[in-house]
C-alpha cells in the first residue's frame, strides 16, 4: 500500500484515512491553504494552519468543523506522523508531510521560495516523495528580485502623483492583495481596498499585521484618490465604479506578466511580475532541497517539468489534479461582492 494514492476525490493517505486538498466531499481533509481550488466545500472535517481557518470559515461557512495545526507540530493518525511546514505561498499556506516507517511524503500545495514579508517563508522539508506544483515550470519564468519590484512600484506611484491619477491594482484578494498593500504602503501611497479584498483582510488580521488602509466607496472624492492606490480583485476589471474615479491607470500583478503576450492580452497599463508561485529556479531548488527520490508533478506545465526532472536523474511522474484553476478563485471573490 502506497502512503499516498491519487484518487478520484483527491490525494489520499489510506493508512491515515485522510485526504489532502480533495476536490470532492470526504470525511477528513487537510487543507494546504485557503484558495478556492485547494479548499473546497463539503468536507466533514478540515485540518489547516490557524491562519487559514478564519478565511476558510468566511468562505465555506462558519459552521464547518475545523481543527488547527501549527507549523512544526505533529499529530498522529493511525501511526502516520503528520506535520505542517511553511510553504511561503500566502499567509497560512502550508506543506503537509506524512511519515510512516521511513517513508516520508511532502505535499507542497502551492509554494514560492521568496520571502514576501507577509507569509511565513518557505522551508525545505527533506523527504522521500515530493508532490510539487508546476504553474511556472518553464525556464522563461524567472522572477525579479523583491527590491526590483519595489522600485518599479515606487516609480509607478511617483508617475501617478505627477500625473494626478489614481492607480488601480488588480490582485487576488487572498495573498496577492496583501502583498501589494504592503509594498505600496512603503511608497507612501494611501491604500484603498475594494470590498472583496477588505473582507479577506479582516479574516487575516486576526493573525497578521496589515498596513493602514481605507475601504473604497463611491463617495470618496477624486482628490482623495489621486496619486493613491485602489486594490481590487481581477474580477472587478471594467466594473462600473472604475468609470467614476476619474483619470486612472491600471496594473496587473502576476507571474504571467513575464510574457508579453499575456501582458498585452490583459489590457492593463502596467504589468508587475509578482508571483506567489515558484519560478523555474525556485521549483528546481525546492525539488533538490527535499532530496526526494520520487517527484510527482501537479498543476501547471506538468509534462515539461516532469520530463526535465527526469532528465536531471530524479524519477518524476505527472499527476492529474483539479488544482490551478484561477477561475475558481475569481468566482469566490465575486461571491464576496454579492
Amino acid at each position: 500500500m502506497s502512503l499516498i494514492e491519487f484518487k478520484e476525490e483527491g490525494l489520499f493517505c489510506p493508512r491515515a484515512n485522510v485526504y489532502i486538498d480533495p476536490w470532492k466531499p470526504v470525511a477528513k481533509a487537510i487543507i494546504t491553504h485557503a484558495h478556492a481550488d485547494h479548499s473546497r466545500y463539503g468536507m466533514k472535517n478540515y485540518l489547516a494552519h490557524p491562519w487559514s481557518i478564519p478565511v476558510m470559515k468566511h468562505r465555506l461557512g462558519q459552521d464547518i468543523n475545523t481543527q488547527a495545526l501549527d507549523f512544526h507540530q505533529s499529530i498522529s493518525m493511525n501511526g502516520v506522523k503528520i506535520m505542517l511546514h511553511p510553504a511561503g505561498h500566502i499567509p497560512g499556506s502550508a506543506q503537509v508531510s506524512l511519515e510512516y516507517k521511513g517513508e516520508k511524503w511532502v505535499v507542497s500545495g502551492d509554494y514560492k521560495l521568496e520571502n514576501d514579508g507577509i507569509s511565513t517563508p518557505f522551508e525545505p522539508v527533506p523527504c522521500t516523495h515530493f508532490v510539487t506544483e508546476s504553474t511556472f515550470g518553464l525556464p522563461v519564468f524567472d522572477w525579479p528580485e523583491e527590491e526590483v519590484l519595489e522600485e518599479q512600484m515606487h516609480r509607478w506611484r511617483a508617475s501617478l502623483v505627477e500625473s494626478q491619477k489614481v492607480g488601480v491594482v488588480y490582485a487576488y484578494a487572498l495573498g496577492k492583495a496583501q502583498r501589494v498593500m504592503k509594498t505600496m504602503a512603503n511608497t507612501g501611497a494611501r491604500i484603498f481596498t475594494h470590498a472583496a479584498v477588505e473582507r479577506t483582510n479582516e479574516c487575516l488580521e486576526h493573525n497578521i499585521e496589515l498596513p493602514d488602509r481605507t475601504e473604497f466607496n463611491s463617495d470618496l472624492k477624486k482628490e482623495e484618490l489621486q496619486g493613491n492606490i485602489i486594490i481590487a480583485t481581477p474580477g472587478s476589471m471594467g466594473a462600473r465604479w472604475t468609470k467614476k474615479i476619474g483619470p486612472h491607470e491600471t496594473a496587473s500583478v502576476s507571474g504571467w506578466m513575464r510574457m508579453r503576450g499575456t501582458r498585452r492580452r490583459s489590457n492593463v497599463d502596467m504589468g508587475f511580475v509578482m508571483s506567489d508561485h515558484a519560478d523555474w529556479k525556485g521549483l528546481n531548488t525546492a525539488v533538490k532541497m527535499t532530496g526526494a527520490e520520487k517527484v510527482f508533478v501537479t498543476h501547471g506545465y506538468t509534462e515539461v517539468y516532469s520530463k526535465w526532472i527526469n532528465s536531471q536523474g530524479i524519477n518524476a511522474e505527472v499527476v492529474k489534479t483539479a488544482f490551478g484553476d484561477e477561475k475558481e478563485e475569481q468566482n469566490e471573490e465575486q461571491k464576496e461582492l454579492k
Binding site: V140, M259, R264
Partner: protein
C-alpha cells in the same frame, strides 16, 4: 537605442492611441533624423532582412542558458515569439543602456549575414550581455527580421504630422511608394519638394463594410453605387511623359502590365487614376484565377498575354493637369474622369459603371447576383465626398456578398502565438457523417478575447488526447463558421475545402448533436458550383499566406492567421507576396517554383512551428510531395536566408 526602446515600451504598455501618438512625437523630437527615418521604415514594414540564421541564434541561446533543445522549443511554444523567448532565456541581466543609436545598430546588422559564424556569435553575444531584458527583446526583433511590432499606420501619420507641422494627407502621401531606408534620408522623405518624385502615388482611400443599420438613414440619391470588382486595386500615374502603375500594396508593377503602360501612353501628362486591374476579354471581366497567372510571372510570354489580357476599370481621378483634385467632390471628380476616359483612345481603359436603381430592394436583388458578373458586391460612395486617405468610415462603404456559413463542432485545438501565446486559439472543426465527426476546416479568428479565454479553459479541462502540440477535446462546443467559398478537395478527408473559414458566432444554444452534417456541406457545394465559380485555388491560398508572412503594418506573428482569413476581405493585393520577395519564381516551372516559394517563406522571416505546419498543409493540398516538402523545410532551417539552388531542389526531388 535608448529612445527607441523606450518608445517600444511605451507603445506596448499604452492602450490608447493618443498616448501612442504622444510617445511617437516625443521619440521624433528626441532623435536624430537617421533614427526617425528607420523608425518610420520599421513601422511601415520596411524592416531589415534577417541577418543571422534562427537555428544559430537558438543554439547560442540554449547554450548560454544551459538548456536542452527540447526545453528551448517547449519554451518557444509557450511564449510564441522567438525574439522574446531568447530575450527571456538569455541568463544575463545586463544593466542596459545600449549606447548605439537605432540607425547604427541596424547598419551594424546589415553586413552580418556575410560574417562567419564565430564573428556573428561574438557580435550577438556582446549585445546580449550588455543589454537588459527589454533591450534584448527589441534587438532580437531587429535581428530575427520578424519585426511586427508597431502602431497603426494611421497613428504613425498623425504623429509625423504633429512633429513635422505638415497635414496628415501630405504625410500619408510622402510615405507612399517604394522608398528604401538604406538609400534615402529623413530629409528626402519628409522635407524635400514633393514634385521631385514623379512616380509617387497617392494614398489609397479604403472602405469599411457597410453597417446594415445605416441603410435607413441613407438617401439613395446621395450615393453612387459601383461594382466592387475582384481584381487588384491600382493607381496609374502619368507624369513627365512617364507612366507608373502601382498596386494598393505600394508595389510598382509597371513592367508586369504592358497593356497598362500602353494605356498610360494615351493619357495626358499630370493624370492619376484609381481603379481595378482585372483580366478582361473585351466583353466581361474574367476569373480572378487568370489574373493570378499574371501576378506570379515576371516574364510575359505572348501566350500568357493573350490568355489573360488586362484592363483597368477606373473608379476615380486624383490628379488632372498636374493638379491634386482629391479635395473636389466625387461628382466633380467623376465628371473629370469621364472626360479623361473619353479622351483616352486606349481600349484598355474602362470607366467604372455607376449603377442607378430605385430602391434598396433593387440593389439588394442585384447584389445577390454579383457573382454572375464576377463582382463581389457593391461599393457605395457619397457623391459629395472628397477622396480621403486610408481606411475611413462615413463616405465610402463596401457592401459585399454575405459569406456562406455552417455550424460545426470543435474537435482539436492548438496554442496560438504572440498575443495569443499560451492560449488554445487554433481550432479544427468537424461535421457529422452518420455517427462520426469528420474534420473539414480550421479557423483561428472571429472570437473575442473573453470567448477565446473561455474556450481555452474548456480545452484544458476537456482534453481527451494529446498528439504533439494538438489536443483532441470532448466534442461539445458548436460554432458557426463563415467562409467565402467552398470547393471539392480530394486531399481532405471530408472531400471539401473552404475558403477563408472563420468563427462567426459561438452557438452556445446548440449541442454538438445539432451541428450540421457533411451532407449539408455537400448541398452547399452544389449550390455554390452552380454560380460562375471563382473558388480560390490552393495556389492563391498560398500566395496570400506568403503575403501575410510579409505583411507588416501592425502585424504580429500571431495575428498572421487572422490576416490570412481576412486578406481577401480587406482587398489585400497579392502582388506584394510575389514581386520582390520571391525572385526564384521565374526560374522554376510549375510545381518546382512552389517548393522555392515555400522555402523562401520559411527561410526569410520568423515562422513558428505551427505556421510551417500550415505551409506544409497547403503544399500538400497543391499536390507537392510530403517528403520533398519536409526536406525543403529542413534545408531552409539549415541555410537561413541563403537561396535554395536548383541543384539542391533537384537533389531533393530525386
Amino acid at each position: 537605442m535608448k529612445n527607441f526602446v523606450t518608445l517600444i515600451q511605451q507603445i506596448e504598455s499604452q492602450s490608447s492611441s493618443k498616448k501612442r501618438i504622444d510617445a511617437l512625437v516625443e521619440f521624433f523630437e528626441k532623435s536624430e533624423p537617421a533614427d526617425r527615418l528607420w523608425c518610420i521604415a520599421l513601422f511601415t514594414g520596411k524592416r531589415p532582412k534577417r541577418a543571422v540564421k534562427n537555428a544559430l541564434l537558438k543554439s547560442w541561446c540554449a547554450e548560454l542558458a544551459q538548456l536542452d533543445d527540447w526545453l528551448f522549443e517547449e519554451s518557444y511554444h509557450v511564449v510564441g515569439d522567438l525574439a522574446e523567448t531568447m530575450a527571456l532565456l538569455v541568463p544575463f541581466d545586463g544593466a542596459g543602456g545600449l549606447k548605439s543609436k537605432l540607425n547604427e545598430q541596424i547598419k551594424a546588422l546589415l553586413p552580418m549575414k556575410n560574417f562567419n559564424e564565430e564573428e556573428q556569435k561574438e557580435q550577438v553575444l556582446a549585445v546580449w550581455k550588455n543589454s537588459n531584458h527589454f533591450e534584448r527583446f527589441v534587438f532580437n526583433k531587429l535581428l530575427t527580421g520578424g519585426w511586427r511590432i508597431g502602431v497603426a499606420k494611421k497613428n504613425l501619420i498623425k504623429a509625423l504630422a504633429i512633429f513635422s507641422g505638415q497635414d496628415e494627407t501630405a504625410v500619408a502621401h510622402r510615405l507612399m511608394g517604394n522608398w528604401d531606408p538604406s538609400t534615402t534620408t529623413y530629409h528626402e522623405l519628409m522635407e524635400s519638394d514633393m514634385d521631385e518624385n514623379l512616380a509617387r502615388p497617392y494614398p489609397f482611400y479604403l472602405a469599411y463594410s457597410l453597417e446594415n443599420d445605416l441603410k435607413p438613414e441613407m438617401n439613395l440619391k446621395d450615393w453612387q453605387f459601383e461594382w466592387k470588382w475582384d481584381g487588384i486595386r491600382g493607381q496609374i500615374v502619368k507624369r513627365g511623359g512617364e507612366c507608373f502603375v502601382w498596386t494598393r500594396g505600394e508595389e510598382l508593377v509597371s513592367e508586369k502590365y504592358p497593356e497598362l503602360m500602353e494605356l498610360g501612353a494615351h493619357l495626358e501628362d499630370g493624370t492619376v487614376l484609381d481603379g481595378e486591374i482585372v483580366v478582361h476579354d473585351g466583353a466581361s471581366v474574367l476569373p480572378f484565377q487568370l489574373l493570378q497567372t499574371r501576378i506570379s510571372r515576371k516574364t510575359l510570354p505572348k501566350k500568357l498575354l493573350a490568355q489573360a489580357p488586362v484592363k483597368f476599370i477606373a473608379y476615380d481621378q486624383l490628379e488632372a493637369n498636374g493638379e491634386d483634385i482629391r479635395a473636389l467632390t466625387l461628382e466633380e471628380r467623376r465628371r473629370q474622369l469621364i472626360r479623361t476616359t473619353k479622351k483616352c483612345s486606349s481600349k484598355e481603359l474602362l470607366l467604372s459603371e455607376s449603377i442607378e436603381l430605385k430602391t434598396w430592394q433593387d440593389y439588394e436583388d442585384l447584389r445577390l447576383r454579383s457573382r454572375a458578373f464576377r463582382a463581389e458586391g457593391f461599393m457605395l460612395k457619397r457623391k459629395t465626398s472628397p477622396y480621403e486617405d486610408g481606411r475611413k468610415k462615413g463616405n465610402w462603404w463596401k457592401w459585399k456578398l454575405d459569406p456562406l456559413s455552417i455550424d460545426a463542432v470543435l474537435i482539436y485545438a492548438m496554442r496560438g502565438h504572440g498575443r495569443r501565446a499560451n492560449l488554445f486559439t487554433d481550432y479544427t472543426f468537424a461535421v457529422w457523417q452518420g455517427e462520426e465527426l469528420v474534420p473539414f476546416a480550421k479557423a483561428y479568428s472571429g472570437l473575442t478575447d473573453a470567448e477565446f479565454k473561455e474556450v481555452d479553459s474548456f480545452v484544458k479541462k476537456n482534453t481527451v488526447d494529446k498528439f504533439g502540440p494538438v489536443r483532441s477535446v470532448k466534442p461539445e462546443l458548436v460554432f458557426e463558421l463563415a467562409f467565402e467559398g467552398i470547393a471539392h478537395s480530394s486531399r481532405h478527408k471530408s472531400g471539401i475545402a473552404l475558403r477563408f473559414p472563420r468563427m462567426a458566432r459561438w452557438r452556445k444554444d446548440k449541442t454538438a448533436q445539432e451541428a450540421n452534417s457533411l451532407e449539408d456541406l455537400r448541398t452547399l457545394l452544389q449550390l455554390y458550383e452552380q454560380q460562375p465559380s471563382r473558388t480560390m485555388s490552393p495556389k492563391s491560398h498560398l500566395i496570400q499566406l506568403v503575403q501575410v508572412v510579409k505583411a507588416d503594418e501592425n502585424i504580429d506573428a500571431a495575428e498572421l492567421k487572422i490576416i490570412q482569413d481576412y486578406a481577401k476581405k480587406h482587398d489585400l493585393s497579392i502582388e506584394d507576396a510575389l514581386n520582390d520577395e520571391l525572385p526564384q519564381m521565374e526560374k522554376g516551372d510549375g510545381l518546382k517554383s512552389w517548393y522555392h516559394l515555400l522555402y523562401t517563406c520559411l527561410a526569410d522571416g520568423e515562422i513558428c512551428p505551427s505556421e510551417s505546419a500550415s505551409l506544409m498543409e497547403i503544399g500538400v493540398n497543391m499536390g507537392l510531395d510530403v517528403s520533398a516538402l519536409r526536406k525543403v523545410i529542413e534545408l531552409s532551417h539549415q541555410n537561413g536566408t541563403v537561396p535554395l539552388t536548383d541543384e539542391e531542389l533537384n537533389a531533393v526531388l530525386d
